[in-house]
């Protein structure tokens, strides 16, 4: 198949977004290494930025995305405000979820990032509901749900795919196959090598793309999104990529073959895409430098915003449990 290349400005934007996401997460990695700078665990998508920007690039503003524990890239690509996102990750009152969520279940309705779950496999059934609502309301919008190769083993994903296909819902399943589910390799946790091939088990298109190539991700996602939008039912895209920093910041990848890691470091989408666009003359090294500087500036702004924000009041922990709080449970 001939891949139509996306327009230059789109590609520059993808590169710039990838650079920003990486900068944001690298800074999180730094902070996570300091004692008490960040609460909880940090789960980063380093190396997977091309999936985020490519998929998000294929969407309209009113499309809905549903994310998982490895969400920062999806949310930033989608245009979530880095300041309140960072503040949330830091557990501050100014956080996008008032410090109740932290990094693991960020919800940013402002950019239609409606639900994020750290329960592996929980995104797809909820996405089913979102896509159903779009169909029910006869919207043009679609829903995209991100889930991992590990999540593909959860029963909930199967149920969601089957039902989405029966009802022909506008739902794009994006499986980010980063070769690992925790410390379990793909072969250990998945009966097949190409998860996209499960599309046929649900009578929906299933396509495998190079998840380290934003152009390919964008092109395929756009095509599959159009399929969903046209009322032809759901689709499954598997983006094959790699988890460069381990499961979380406390994971030092002792179980990863160093050669495999080195190989994938060589395919780091930031450098390969930067090089590609440079070679194609779409950006100069200087452009990239200024993207990096701008990214660094925005990240520092976000960190400063977060660090200067107050922590939420303890008593606020009792708010937002119910919309109409029952008298007996306050």
């Amino acid at each position: 198949m001939i891949t139509r290349k996306p327009k230059g400005n789109v590609r520059r934007a993808m590169l710039s977004d990838m650079i920003f996401i990486r900068a944001f997460e690298d800074r999180l990695a730094e902070l996570a290494a300091q004692k008490d700078a960040l609460p909880g665990m940090q789960i980063l998508a380093t190396g997977q930025e091309a999936v985020a920007v490519g998929v998000i690039g294929s969407l309209n503003p009113d499309d809905v995305i549903i994310s998982n524990h490895r969400s920062h890239g999806h949310l930033l690509a989608r245009g979530a405000d880095p300041n309140t996102l960072m503040a949330e990750i830091m557990g501050r009152a100014t956080g996008v979820n008032r410090g109740k969520s932290g990094t693991l279940h960020l919800i940013v309705p402002e950019v239609n990032a409606l639900m994020t779950s750290t329960v592996v496999g929980a995104g797809p059934p909820m996405a089913l509901g979102a896509a159903f609502a779009q169909q029910y309301k006869e919207e043009e919008a679609i829903t995209v749900v991100f889930f991992g190769d590990g999540a593909a083993a959860e029963g909930s994903v199967h149920e969601a795919m089957n039902l989405a296909a029966i009802w022909k819902l506008p739902l794009l399943f994006v499986c980010e196959n980063n070769c690992w589910a925790g410390a379990q390799s793909l072969a250990e946790h998945c009966a097949i090598g190409v998860i996209a091939s499960r599309g046929s088990a649900y009578n929906m298109p299933g396509e495998l793309v190079d998840g380290n190539n934003p152009d390919e991700v964008l092109e395929t996602a756009t095509r599959l999104a159009a399929h969903c939008r046209a009322g032809r039912g759901p689709a499954l895209m598997e983006a094959f990529t790699y988890r460069l920093r381990g499961h979380g910041e406390h994971d030092h990848q002792h179980y990863v073959d160093p050669e495999e890691l080195a190989l994938w470091k060589g395919k780091d989408p930031l450098t390969t895409y930067g090089t590609k666009l440079t070679e194609e003359g779409l950006v100069t090294l200087q452009d990239i430098q200024s993207m990096e500087m701008e990214a660094a500036r925005r990240v520092e702004e976000a960190v400063a915003f977060g660090q200067s924000s107050p922590f939420p009041k303890p008593e606020e922990a009792l708010e937002h449990v119910w919309v109409n709080s029952p008298r007996d449970r306050q």
Partner: protein, 325 residues
């Protein structure tokens, strides 16, 4: 007032909600086309009336059904989904407990999940413990959920209507045994507020708190004991969350005695919460030990004699009353 069977009352509530608000839709296994071709069943006739767009039969996929409700409610719809029998709620429990109940909180109050889950429950139809297993205490333990448990057609209708339009996720427990029981039911969109218990029979000696069909065992016991000069106050909770603490506590402060009655297993059942609440907040009024009448400490057995033995009865309530008077 005209009489309806509970199944019809539920039907009517669903139809009123759907007529009134385009955002309401139904989904579940057989909510449209059902093996029960019976006008008394709660979703009978709704597919014909509202069409396939709004009455959605689903595959046997409880997690997907609950996920559908979570996602659709977050998008502004008012889903009313059905879990066919209470024990199957286990299969939907991640969606309900970790998502429906928590995402409003996790969003910092930004998102809401106004969904309703209707779940069939109860015992007495000899289907055994994989069909009969009341788990309302599980759901009540989870902050963020509301739990409704009607005992008659009027409440089944009025509470369901309130639940559908409530901004929080609500689990509505429908006892199968009630579908065929009839009672006066108001016409039209008459809602029963959540968190308001119903004093079915006032009395001065012992407060009996129940919900669902066990209220009838309590009423029967009250009737029988009345002749002996013992006066029970029978309270039907109607919803467990929100819980109408005031009505229960006020009653116990008067009677000094509490008996709880439910079909679910006693250990860690909802009766434990009621007993604990009273032991905390009405202790000084208590004149006698609390008693919990409940399902046996066993799964619900199939054999009819054993199934009846399992279930709280008027006799067991009377025995409990006698033990504390």
């Amino acid at each position: 007032m005209r009489e309806l069977h509970t199944g019809q009352a539920i039907q009517e509530a669903l139809a009123i909600a759907m007529d009134q608000d385009e955002r309401v839709f139904l989904a579940g296994e057989g909510v449209g086309t059902s093996i029960h071709d019976n006008p008394l069943m709660p979703t009978y006739g709704l597919l014909d009336r509202f069409g396939k767009k709004r009455v959605k039969d689903t595959p046997v996929s409880e997690a997907a059904i609950a996920g559908l409700a979570v996602g659709a409610s977050n998008m502004g719809l008012l889903p009313v989904v059905e879990i066919m029998f209470f024990p199957f709620i286990t299969l939907a429990s991640d969606m309900l407990v970790n998502h429906a109940a928590k995402l409003h909180y996790l969003s910092g109050g930004k998102s809401t999940f106004p969904l309703t889950v209707r779940v069939k429950a109860g015992l007495g139809f000899q289907a055994g413990c994989q069909h009969s297993h009341n788990l309302e205490a599980w759901m009540a333990h989870v902050p963020g959920l509301k739990i409704v448990f009607p005992s008659n057609p009027a409440d089944a209708k009025g509470l369901l209507l309130t639940s559908i339009f409530d901004p929080d996720p609500v689990i509505v427990v429908e006892e199968m045994g009630l579908y065929w029981a009839s009672g006066p039911t108001p016409e039209g969109d008459v809602r029963v507020p959540l968190g308001s218990a119903n004093v079915l029979k006032p009395g001065g000696d012992v407060t009996v708190v129940a919900y669902g069909t066990p209220v009838y065992a309590a009423l029967q016991a009250a009737g029988a004991l009345e002749e002996e000069g013992i006066s029970l106050e029978v309270i039907d909770l109607r919803s467990l969350v929100p819980l109408d603490k005031e009505t229960v506590l006020e009653s116990v402060r008067r009677t000094g005695r509490l008996i709880t009655v439910h079909d679910a297993n006693r250990f860690c059942g909802f009766g434990a919460e009621l007993a604990a609440m009273v032991a905390e907040e009405a202790f000084h009024s208590l004149k006698a030990p609390v008693r919990r009448v409940a399902g046996l400490e066993a799964p619900v057995p199939m054999a009819p004699v054993q199934e009846s033995f399992y279930k709280p009865s008027a006799e067991k309530v009377m025995e409990a009353v006698r033990s504390i008077l």
